[in-house]
């Protein structure tokens, strides 16, 4: 662990180190504001001095804090997965949605929303059913991608992208059928879940999620150097001693895990994984030690802010957070395509 940290700091420049530290400060600040503001405001400081009413404490500990924490972790997860996939595919437009991982998770989750009431009416583990079937969904997509692209060697990436398009379409069909056969209550649940929200999370659900996502993020940071070498092209990276198949497997597994969990807990939150890595590259460079770590931090900051906006814009009602990220992200996506065309 210490060795890994030492390596991390050796690989990033002074400017990048400063950005890294500033981002940590901003994240702490943002989370403090995110916890304090909402349908009613209070000061976090009061919690430590013990000056909160019982109601305030209830809101802080069981509603605000888990919600802000989840927003930060999901933002970090989606952004880092986006950065990894953009590196792996060497395509600046790559994103967890692109290769069908999010869609697979969504199909799994939709299946459990519509079907669980019929098959497991009083099941003890019902809260865990949604994340579990979402992870299964994304893992299923990954396995299919693997089987399809196995024989293609160095050219596998292109086929994987094409397979991703097909899988996205197939998952769309599945969700469409589920929408059609669902009753009114299920349809409502499905629709709101699809737009994404951080509301209604509970500690027993998010603690395992946070532990798994954070450890996967830290584990993924170790492959930064290999992702750098991969930018030379797969044959070149192989000649420099990078085991391409293992690298591909590692990145896809880590993305499946963190995206699967994120999607199951919060629904489809689009464009974060696409936008954040580009912002981070604009600030301070493209090497992956810096990019992955700072994408995670920036993603967390942006997501906490987006969630805050979703809570306070139309008080006391709430906007789906996916609506906000897409509203910011899609113009950015267009700008990106426009800029690429000019090049």
């Amino acid at each position: 662990m210490l060795n890994g940290l030492d390596r991390f700091f050796r690989y990033i420049s002074l400017k990048q180190l400063i950005i890294f530290n500033v981002l940590i400060l901003v994240l702490i600040l943002t989370m403090t504001v995110g916890i304090s503001k909402g349908s009613f405001d209070f000061s976090v400081l009061k919690y430590f001095t013990g000056n909160l009413t019982t109601l305030e404490e209830e809101v802080l500990v069981n509603i605000r804090f888990p919600r802000v924490l989840l927003a930060a972790v999901v933002g970090a997860a989606l952004s880092m997965s986006g950065a990894c996939l953009q590196g792996l595919f060497r395509n600046p437009l790559a994103d967890p949605g692109l290769i069908g991982v999010s869609a697979g998770a969504a199909l799994g989750a939709a299946f459990s929303i519509v079907m669980s009431a019929e098959f497991f009416p009083d099941f003890l583990f019902t809260p865990y059913l949604l994340p579990l079937s979402a992870i299964l969904g994304s893992a299923f997509v990954i396995s299919i991608l693997f089987i399809i692209t196995r024989g293609f060697g160095f050219e596998g990436m292109t086929y994987m992208l094409l397979a991703g398009i097909a899988i996205n379409a197939l998952a769309g069909v599945g969700i469409g059928i589920l929408t059609y056969i669902s009753d009114d209550a299920e349809l409502r649940g499905l629709t709101f879940w699809t737009m994404g929200s951080f509301g209604g999370v509970t500690w027993n659900l998010i603690i395992p999620a946070i532990v798994i996502i954070l450890s996967t993020i830290v584990w993924t940071l170790r492959i930064s150097r290999k992702l750098d070498l991969l930018q030379l092209g797969e044959p070149e990276a192989y000649r420099l001693g990078v085991d391409i198949k293992k690298l591909r497997f590692d990145i896809i597994m880590s993305s499946a895990i963190i995206v699967g969990i994120s999607v199951s807990l919060t629904g489809m939150i689009g464009f974060v994984g696409l936008v954040v890595p580009h912002l981070v590259r604009l600030f301070g460079g493209v090497n992956h030690h810096y990019l992955l770590a700072c994408s995670a931090l920036t993603g967390a900051i942006l997501m906490v802010n987006a969630d805050l906006l979703s809570r306070i814009l139309i008080q006391p009602a709430e906007l789906p957070v996916g609506l906000i990220t897409s509203a910011i992200g899609s113009p950015f996506f267009l700008w990106l395509i426009f800029r690429m065309r000019k090049k």
């Binding site: 390596r7 060497r90 395509n91 930018q231 000649r239 001693g241 493209v286």
Partner: protein, 256 residues
């Protein structure tokens, strides 16, 4: 101390690409591989560098079968410069060269700085280090990739193990002065103990700076030896199906 290529054959489905190819790349020597387009030159380089496995035959690095050397150790004894594709993201020139540095943990060390300084001087690219790689000209990009290929060989086994550089048409889209500069660096490297395996198209260039030349046609080696042994009008004419003349007084090859 050499790379021995023994009876290599390679085919894709029914198409025979290499037939029974044998070569020897010696330390302190430049071996040039020439031949018409589609004769199997790049495939042979891929097999010797370990990218693909031959259907039959073997490649030995200093008497050890290539299959028994793991990919990390391979990177320490041979570096390959191919016709690289573009890099999508905006890496600096220095970062691109650093990618060839295999001693990850010893990143900010005197050793690395020395190696970087050395390749910077050799390839005359020191003034480009802080520039963005994508803003360089085509020729400058080639030189940066060449520098990366060189720095890969200055790893910690530098003094003890054999080192080989393999290049696939490195002089494509270089002007004549940069072409000569690159060739001279390679020549100097052979004096430092490197073995060089290079695919070329330019007959005159190959004649004047190679220690050994191999001609390949339709997947078969049809001539292998010192330049003076193989640069015969009859052999060249047969290989290229074109009247090639060789002027013995000026040592120039002409074909038009």
């Amino acid at each position: 101390m050499s790379i021995e290529v023994n009876n290599i054959s390679y085919s894709i489905k029914d198409l025979q690409i290499l037939r029974d190819v044998s070569l020897k790349i010696k330390k302190n020597e430049v071996l040039s591989l020439l031949g018409p387009n589609g004769s199997g030159k790049s495939t042979l380089l891929k097999i010797i560098s370990g990218d693909i496995n031959p259907k039959s035959g073997s490649v030995l690095f200093d008497d050890i079968n290539l299959n028994n050397i793991n990919i990390i150790d391979r990177a320490r004894i041979r570096s390959v410069m191919s016709q690289s594709q573009d890099i999508i993201y905006d890496f600096s020139v220095k970062e691109v060269i650093e990618m060839g540095w295999l001693e990850g943990k010893e990143f900010i060390t005197e050793k690395f700085d020395n190696a970087l300084y050395k390749v910077g001087i050799e390839c005359e690219i020191s003034h480009l280090f802080d520039k963005s790689f994508n803003q360089l000209s085509g020729g400058e990009k080639r030189k940066v990739h060449f520098a990366r290929t060189l720095i890969q060989m200055y790893n910690r086994d530098f003094e003890t193990k054999s080192r080989y550089i393999m290049l696939d048409e490195p002089t494509a889209n270089l002007d004549i002065s940069h072409e000569l500069q690159l060739i001279n660096i390679l020549k100097k490297k052979t004096l430092e103990g490197f073995g060089v395996f290079i695919i070329l198209h330019d007959l005159n260039l190959a004649y004047h700076f190679s220690d050994k030349v191999a001609f390949i046609k339709e997947g078969k080696i049809c001539a292998f030896g010192t330049p003076d042994e193989v640069f015969k009008e009859k052999i060249l004419t047969e290989i290229y199906g074109l009247d090639v003349s060789f002027d013995n007084s000026t040592k120039k090859i002409s074909y038009y």
